[in-house]
């Protein structure tokens, strides 16, 4: 398992991202997705190792997939994964609503500003 995902409950929905599924998937489609992705990993198909998460693209291997499948098949951990599931593209696709969330900061532009020089301090 990626350490990044275990650090916070917020990312408990990671098995869905790794298997490219959503919470509507049943056990049969979980098994099918697992077989499909492991075989493409074995065949070394390009980009089979990459999967999308809201935090960006991450790398998967057979162990990660096996763990993801096990978590989704177990009803208790599946509830947790469903509860915390977020779409991988949620940061881009969700429109502004009553949370008044700001547009992403142009961080490259803002970090280029030398504020000490702007305000003549050091």
């Amino acid at each position: 398992m990626l350490a990044e995902f275990t650090a916070t409950p917020l990312l408990s929905g990671w098995p869905f991202w790794a298997l490219e599924l959503d919470p509507t998937a049943d056990n049969r489609s979980i098994e099918r997705a697992y077989q499909k992705i492991t075989s493409s990993l074995q065949l070394k198909i390009s980009k089979a190792e990459d999967f999308n998460t809201p935090l960006g693209v991450r790398i998967r291997d057979e162990y990660l997939l096996r763990e993801a499948k096990a978590l989704l098949i177990n009803p208790h951990s599946r509830v947790l994964a469903e509860f915390w599931y977020l779409k991988p593209d949620c940061l881009q696709s969700t429109p502004l609503d009553k949370t008044h969330l700001s547009a992403p900061i142009n961080s490259s532009a803002s970090s280029e500003i030398d504020w000490c020089a702007v305000f003549r301090t050091q």
Binding site: L10, L91, H100, N106, W115, T121
Partner: protein
């Protein structure tokens, strides 16, 4: 002519002597800065006498004339030190700027030493990289050697000189403490530089809320129009309607003191995420906000935890119990409790609250109280035996004490314990500062830190004393 000047000077001296003969010098407010008057008077006297001597002679010598003009020009350094200081700051001469600051009586009347440090600090920005560390150490050494009354300006300059690379949280806490300094001892350009210093750090750390908090405070000190502009512009970003008069005022301030980088940057930084927990947020929205906080796109809004509690107490059961039943047919309440627990874990992780029941947290708390006790004992010994250190040393000790107290006082219970441990020792220490060493601005700062705590915990005696120091009730 010179006789008349001499008589005026003598009269002024006699009047001052008679007025001050029986009074203890008042150190509550800064000295009135009459040195400037004497410098000008001496210069006038010198000019008059030497021109009389030169031009009453039958044949004035050319060389003497040039010499005379040269001496006049050179001594104008004493008349307009701040003008010469500007030049030396541009050239990056730290020591020259510092010494010119020492005679800039009219500019930094409130705290002459702080003004000198400010000139030196400004010159630091322009001196070469290889010189910078050495010159900064020289300024820090001057700061440490200061023996007189420690003014508010010097306290602020200490932060600017000694903590340029300090962690942001520490610096922010220090500037919150410095909001309690006595403004009568704070020169206006020191206040202006201090605001720019903390503003630069807040912008670099993208601390949107702190930018306004600092602007709101510093605009009240010495008519800081730049801080007023930052405050109003910051406010206008979140406002739904802005009255016409305020639009005009913002535009007017923008014209004079507006900063174009900040103007472009602030809206990017954030239209603040205002959450109203009463609105009822869906799980998707709450998760999305948490994700944005985790990825650093927004800071955590204050109502987020309440919104989570509202969700768990309200729609969570209705939404999730059927699904839990469908997945696992029994003990659905236990599974629901696990979901609750995961939310609580997330909140506690985000807010960085340690678990008070854990062994490690208790050990840390124990060590903190021991450290507090050591600092308090040292303070008691110094004030009881009359062995007070210099103003700067006492100030640094007080900063260290406040730092330990703030670290310990995470909840109301601990804060009360810390306050009642500090109360009497700090009280006696302040009396010693006030009566004997005359470091009254420092006692003022301690009073303004302790007074709200005394009020909060219902200690009226202590509150009367601390608030009395801040309210100039004692002399």
């Amino acid at each position: 002519m010179s006789g008349a000047i001499g008589i005026i000077v003598a009269i002024v001296f006699i009047v001052r002597y008679l007025r001050n003969r029986d009074t203890v010098p008042d150190r509550t407010n800064p000295p009135n800065g009459s040195q400037y008057f004497w410098v000008w008077l001496a210069y006038l006297g010198l000019t008059t006498l030497s021109s009389l001597a030169l031009y009453s002679a039958a044949q004035p010598s050319r060389i003497l004339e040039w010499l005379y003009l040269g001496v006049l020009a050179a001594s104008s350094v004493f008349l307009f030190p701040s003008f010469y200081a500007r030049i030396s700051i541009l050239l990056g001469w730290v020591k020259t700027s510092y010494f010119l600051g020492r005679i800039a009586y009219s500019v930094h009347r409130q705290d002459l030493f702080a003004g000198a440090l400010l000139y030196g600090w400004r010159a630091l920005a322009r001196c070469g990289e290889e010189q910078k560390t050495q010159q900064r150490a020289w300024l820090a050494q001057k700061l440490a050697q200061h023996r007189g009354t420690l003014g508010s300006g010097t306290m602020v300059m200490q932060a600017l000189i000694k903590y340029p690379q300090a962690p942001y949280k520490e610096l922010r806490a220090l500037f919150h403490l410095l909001q309690g300094v006595n403004k009568n001892w704070l020169p206006s350009d020191v206040a202006l530089s201090a605001f720019r210093f903390i503003l630069a750090r807040s912008c670099a750390e993208r601390d949107f809320a702190e930018i306004r908090a600092q602007a709101r405070y510093w605009q009240l000190v010495c008519k800081n129009r730049f801080a007023q502009w930052v405050d109003m512009y910051h406010w206008s970003l979140g406002a739904t309607t802005i009255p016409f008069s305020l639009r005009v005022k913002i535009a007017w301030l923008d014209f004079w003191v507006g900063n174009r980088h900040l103007k472009h940057y602030l809206p990017q930084l954030k239209p603040p995420m205002e959450m109203d927990a009463r609105l009822g947020y869906s799980l998707e929205q709450l998760k999305l906000i948490e994700l944005k906080i985790r990825t650093g796109l927004t800071p955590a809004p204050s109502a987020l935890n309440t919104a989570w509690q509202g969700y768990l107490a309200g729609p969570a059961g209705d939404e999730w119990l059927p699904r839990i039943k469908a997945l696992c047919s029994f003990n659905e309440n236990e599974v629901l409790a696990r979901l609750d627990q995961s939310v609580r874990d997330l909140i506690s992780l985000r807010s960085g609250e340690g678990d008070l029941d854990s062994e490690a947290a208790m050990q840390e708390r124990d060590m903190g109280f021991k450290l507090l006790q050591i600092k308090i004992n040292a303070m008691v010994n110094r004030s009881e035996q009359g062995k007070m250190m210099t103003g700067m040393q006492e100030y640094e000790e007080f900063l260290a004490l406040v730092k330990v107290a703030e670290r310990l006082g995470k909840d109301d219970h601990s804060r009360a314990q810390v306050f009642f441990q500090m109360r009497s020792p700090v009280w006696n220490w302040m009396v010693e500062l006030w009566n004997n060493t005359k470091n009254r601005p420092l006692a003022f700062l301690a009073g303004s830190y302790m007074a709200p705590l005394a009020k909060e915990f219902g200690d009226t005696d202590a509150h009367d004393f601390f608030a009395g120091i801040v309210g100039h009730k004692f002399n």
